[in-house]
């Protein structure tokens, strides 16, 4: 397996509170890795270490190694803006900007210095198609994104993330606020996107992890308990603790 991104011995602190202990995971290129575990186990915190989103919180501390290709992303010389363009993110609740559908997608291009109008139009169309929402919105690109349904808003947010052509896509429980049909669409989308993108997805839903991911990592109380191929982890986990969690005996 070719590695796109990895962490080695990652520790994370909110002030004096240690939220992550010594986490080491490899993320294969163009693979889907699912992070599972009960609420508060640190999986979202871990995800947010990967595009330095935690930087926005005052008083945090990170130790250990986080590498994208061969560059350490916590290196002071690294440009965090470039990092976030390369490592995109989709959030738990759909968070479109209060702008038009078109401008939502164009935003990432504009802040990254693209001025050419025909190029922007082209990328907007391509991204919306990639996120499987083009047919639903192509006649109302200039209407507010807030008029879309929750599921459409989330696919719009995925299209927005895709527009800046990221290499890795982080998804923080992207379907937890959606109904089953919208969830299914998002899952199909994840499978489709994984042919070109490295995807890391946090999910509460173990069936979802089993359906969409190639590898699964199980977190508990800030520690990585087990990481393995999804099929193996769900059928023959190495540890009793993992088995108890996936069979619903705790968590």
């Amino acid at each position: 397996m070719e590695i796109k991104m990895h962490t080695r011995g990652l520790d994370f602190f909110y002030g004096d509170f240690q939220a992550l202990y010594n986490i080491s995971i490899d993320f294969g290129i163009n693979r889907v890795t699912a992070l599972i575990g009960p609420s508060g186990c640190g999986k979202s915190t871990y995800l947010r270490c990967l595009n330095r989103m935690n930087d926005l919180i005052p008083g945090i501390k990170v130790a250990g190694e986080v590498k994208l290709d061969d560059s350490e992303i916590y290196d002071p010389s690294l440009d965090v803006v470039t990092l976030r363009r390369r490592v995109g993110m989709v959030f738990q609740k759909p968070n479109p900007f209060p702008k038009s559908i078109f401008e939502n997608i164009a935003y990432g291009l504009r802040v990254n210095g693209v001025k050419d109008k025909s190029k922007i139009t082209q990328v907007v169309e391509k991204s919306l198609k990639q996120a499987a929402i083009w047919d639903e919105v192509k006649d109302r690109l200039n209407e507010s994104a807030l008029g879309l349904s929750g599921g459409q808003q989330q696919r719009l947010c995925i299209a927005r993330a895709l527009a800046v052509d990221p290499e890795v896509l982080l998804m923080d429980e992207p379907a937890s606020a959606l109904d089953p049909i919208a969830t299914q669409k998002i899952e199909e989308l994840i499978t489709e996107l994984s042919s070109k993108l490295t995807i890391i997805i946090v999910t509460h839903n173990m069936q979802q992890a089993a359906r969409v991911s190639d590898r699964t990592a199980f977190f508990y109380m800030g520690k990585l308990i087990e990481v393995n191929d999804t099929d193996t982890l769900f059928t023959k986990p190495d540890l009793k603790q993992t088995e108890d969690y996936i069979t619903g005996r705790f968590g």
């Binding site: 989103m53 976030r84 363009r85 935003y107 990432g108 504009r110 947010c157 606020a177």
Partner: protein, 295 residues
């Protein structure tokens, strides 16, 4: 049963109190219009509003309030040009850029400024700013439109700043994160996401700040110079609407034309501030931010 009775009793008390204040306010309005309207037996509404000369005590008297209206409008506009950028930029600094510790100290100070009595600000304009302007620009009088505008801006900044700050601060974190996650810098996020998302709150802040400025009496009475003439430069003395009422009411004989004319000025002023408040209300409802996402 008894608890329900108490509940009803409490509700009636609140209703009574509410009715009392609403009635009192309505009566003041009725009185304002009743006392103002008789002047229009002497001058037409058009001559009153657009007349260029305000000589209420001459024989025959001139009741044209255009110089007063323009005095108010110019002073308010100029104050706005000073106060709006200052207020909004301070708000952005406090809500987005300043460290929490700095914001914690500066915010109460800004709010304290809002509670400064207007007579103190007027006094400051008279004894400190006026001589300073006179020397700096080499002008005959320091009490003029510019001085009054500066002082009014000083009063409007806290209002504009603290309401804008609330609006900016309440922009959902999810929107900021979405912007950062796309590779936007903090500056780009402020300009392209945070300000547009809080625009209705900022507009409301501006209008409330300006409506405070246009209705303010003491500052313009003390610092604007008080000449009822059409201004030609920002260093001309002016006599805004509220200043005229305050300065002349004591000398206008009860029931005279002058007396009614002053009440009619009050009506015009009321129309201005009422208009400002309507616009503020409209904007804050029309462009209300629905939040991060409506599921």
């Amino acid at each position: 049963m008894r608890r329900q009775d108490i509940d009803k009793g409490v509700q009636s008390v609140f209703l009574l109190v509410a009715l009392f204040s609403i009635t009192a306010l309505s009566l003041i309005m009725v009185f304002l219009f009743l006392e103002g309207i008789p002047i229009f037996e002497t001058v037409s509404v058009k001559d009153f509003v657009f007349g260029k000369y305000w000589y209420p005590t001459d024989e025959p008297a001139d009741f044209g309030i255009m110089p007063l209206i323009l005095g108010s409008v110019y002073v308010t506009l100029l104050a706005g040009m000073i106060a709006i950028p200052l207020g909004i930029m301070t708000a952005i600094y406090l809500a987005e850029i300043a460290s929490p510790r700095v914001a914690e100290i500066v915010k109460p100070i800004v709010e304290l400024l809002a509670s400064m009595p207007s007579v103190v600000i007027g006094f400051f304009g008279m004894v400190v700013v006026a001589p300073f302007l006179q020397k700096l620009f080499d002008i005959p009088v320091g009490l003029n439109m510019f001085n009054a505008s500066l002082m009014l801006a000083f009063m409007a900044v806290p209002t504009i700043c603290s309401i804008s700050e609330d609006a900016i601060f309440s922009v959902p974190t999810a929107l900021k994160e979405a912007s950062f996650a796309l590779g936007a810098t903090h500056n780009e996020t402020i300009i392209r996401v945070i300000i547009p998302a809080s625009l209705s709150g900022i507009c409301t802040a501006v209008i409330l700040g300006l409506s405070r400025a246009i209705g303010e009496t003491m500052v313009v009475l003390m610092a604007a110079g008080g000449a009822a003439m059409l201004p030609t430069s920002i260093f001309d003395p002016v006599r805004p609407l509220p200043a005229s009422i305050a300065a002349e009411m004591a000398e206008a004989p009860f029931g005279s034309e002058h007396y009614h004319a002053l009440f009619a000025i009050g009506v015009v002023l009321f129309v201005f501030t009422f208009g400002f408040n309507l616009i503020a209300d409209y904007i804050s409802h029309k462009f209300r931010q629905v939040g991060e996402a409506s599921l």
